[in-house]
Amino acid sequence: MNQHLLLGAEAIAMAAIDAGISGVYAYPGTPSTEITEFIQHSHIARERNIHSTWSANEKTAYESALGMSYAGKRSLVCMKHVGLNVAADAFMNSAMTGVNGGMVLVVADDPSMHSSQNEQDSRVFGKFAMLPVLEPSTQQEAYDCIHYAYSISEQLQLPIVVRISTRISHSRAIVVSQSIQKQNSLNPDTDKRKWILIPAFARMRYAHLLSLQPKLLELSEKSPFNTVVKGNSKQAVIAFGIAYNYVMEVITAHNLDISVLKISQYPIPHTHVAEFLYTYDSILIAEEGYPVYEELLRGFSGNNKLRGRLDGTLPRTGELNPDHIAQAFGIAIQQEYSIPVFVVNRPPELCKGCSHRDLFEALQIVMKEYSHNHVFSDIGCYTLGALKPFEAINTCVDMGASVTMAKGAADAGMHPAIGLIGDSTFTHSGITGLLDAVNDKSHVTIIISDNATTAMTGGQDSAGTHKLHSICEGIGVEPSHIRTITPISTGLQENIQIIREEIEYKGVSVIIAQRECVQVAIRNKKKNKTS
């Protein structure tokens, strides 16, 4: 037996390799990063020549995976929930084209926002695109459902969505693997009507997608991942994905006689759900994420048999846990001890010696000279500049928004209009915004804090390393106003002077603050020592 101790994310990666993928495409994002990293470190993946380098963003990743599928091979694309917003155009339209080689999208949601700016539920996207969604509850199921997903993807000729969340992605358990399958051979799709979504063809494709819906429902009805635990009382639970674990934990620990319908494949299986709705007097709906199906099952009438996140039985927001489920059944929590009042929080912080620290120090000194001292910022380690001791940024919205919000604010008459962005975030979604600013000759100062890595997610390669200057020059920033500085304490006075000059320049200026991430530097040093 092939037993492995794997994170949910790693179980997915191993399953994808075993299912014969020829490539994984992704941009790092917690809690999805470890899927791609596992494949990058796999010897088997290397032997099989499986593509695994990082993409510039989730949209380029999704489209590359779709291209590999077009060519007839199996592909995997991974992202965090907000990454699917970036890839949404490609995603929605891939439901219209369909696929050739099997294609699976793994999207990792982050309820409770451990490392994210919202807790959107990707199952809504699955429904929006009218695609099958799988939501494993265990690491073993995560492994098994990937094999299944590739099989139905090729059978239905549709991309399949696998939705996971932080807890399953970052939790380890023992997983039994299957034998490895052959990779598909090159077999490009020749059906132009399928792939050219001009209106006349697109209407046909939409009709086709709709015609597949009964088949999708049929697969859910007989899915090995949708199961029933029979009890004898009039109480029941419909538990989705990982919520099933918490429900079963409570039921077994307290010997409750309650029936459970576990749903891990969507569209939801109508027969099972209808049977539960008619048979039981009180039904708890346990979903990790939004109350998507609770809302649907309640309908306009509200259905007072149902309990869940919408009536306060479970919390409306955040990740579920076994204590929430126990309380929903009226079981008292056996908590003996409380946290002493003097135990303060320990928020994350920028590392000692981090280049962002020196940049913030210089920037803060300059900003004190202005009455409007707002800094539009972005998503990365430098977002920690929002916290003490710096409190140096005013915004963090979505990837790339620092550049474009600074531009909009400059258009409104704000000065200085500063956009502070990391190197990887800049190549992800900042370049096009900078082009807008150049074309409008906006009075903005864009600071790219370039530590030559995607640091926040653990130091993955950054798409723009060594290219940032030429990218800025290429889209038309005046070369004399692309300034490179080294954010280091001995350069403080010089850096202050350069920032001051560029803020005062009436046009687009870019300051590239360049110094390697200290974590990556330590890691490289260790690597060099051992090799």
């Binding site: 101790l5 994170l7 917690t30 807890r167 970052h170 929590i333 056996q334 003996e336 926040m456």
Partner: protein, 190 residues
């Protein structure tokens, strides 16, 4: 058998190393394992914890319910106190005494330690000091793991096997240093 363990500390203190060794030992003993850990933003010097559950029967939840942890192993004393709501009545706390003070408002360390001493089964261990005496300061987390051995429900040979497996590629010197740290820790609580 079923053991629920919380492993706590600050990002970068080797919490995941302790978890990985227990995981391997449990799997090698034919037990079920579930272990939830923290990745992402909190790893930057923030509070991190791991919920580790081992059992001879199926484990459903990846998270330990409140009041159900048999053991808290903490690499840092303030962090041990953060997770006491999870501790069972008379549960075990194995904690290092040395504070990690990367915050300006870190409470008085004497108050932290005397609060820990109020727990009926708290074992406070000068883990860094012991590791230093052994000549390998980095193995302080393994000293704590050693002290936890009597409460894990896994034989010590299996834990030793876990260390040998996890550090297999690091060479004998590192393996031996960690095994020495393990048994030094065990001496304290045995």
């Amino acid at each position: 058998m079923k053991t629920n363990i919380i492993i706590a500390g600050v990002g970068g203190q080797g919490i995941l190393t302790i978890s990985s060794i227990i995981d391997l030992a449990a799997m090698h003993s034919g037990l079920h394992v579930k272990q939830a850990e923290v990745h992402g933003m909190s790893q930057r010097g923030g509070e991190v914890q791991s919920h580790l559950r081992i059992s001879d029967s199926i484990i459903y939840s990846d998270l330990i319910p409140l009041g159900q942890a048999d053991v808290i192993i903490s690499v840092e004393p303030l962090e041990a106190l953060r997770y006491v709501p999870f501790l069972k009545e008379k549960g075990i706390i194995i904690s290092a005494t040395e504070p990690f003070t990367n915050i300006t408002n870190y409470p008085n360390i004497d108050a932290v330690l005397s609060e820990l001493k109020k727990f009926p089964n708290a074992k406070l261990i000068h883990a860094s000091q012991i590791a230093q005496q052994l000549g390998n300061i980095k193995s302080y987390n393994i000293v704590l793991l050693g002290a936890a051995i009597p409460y894990l429900g896994i034989p010590q040979e299996q834990i030793e096997w876990g260390i040998r497996t996890l550090f297999a590629t690091k060479g004998n010197a590192i393996i031996d240093a960690n095994i020495a740290a393990l048994y030094k820790g065990l001496e304290i609580t045995k």
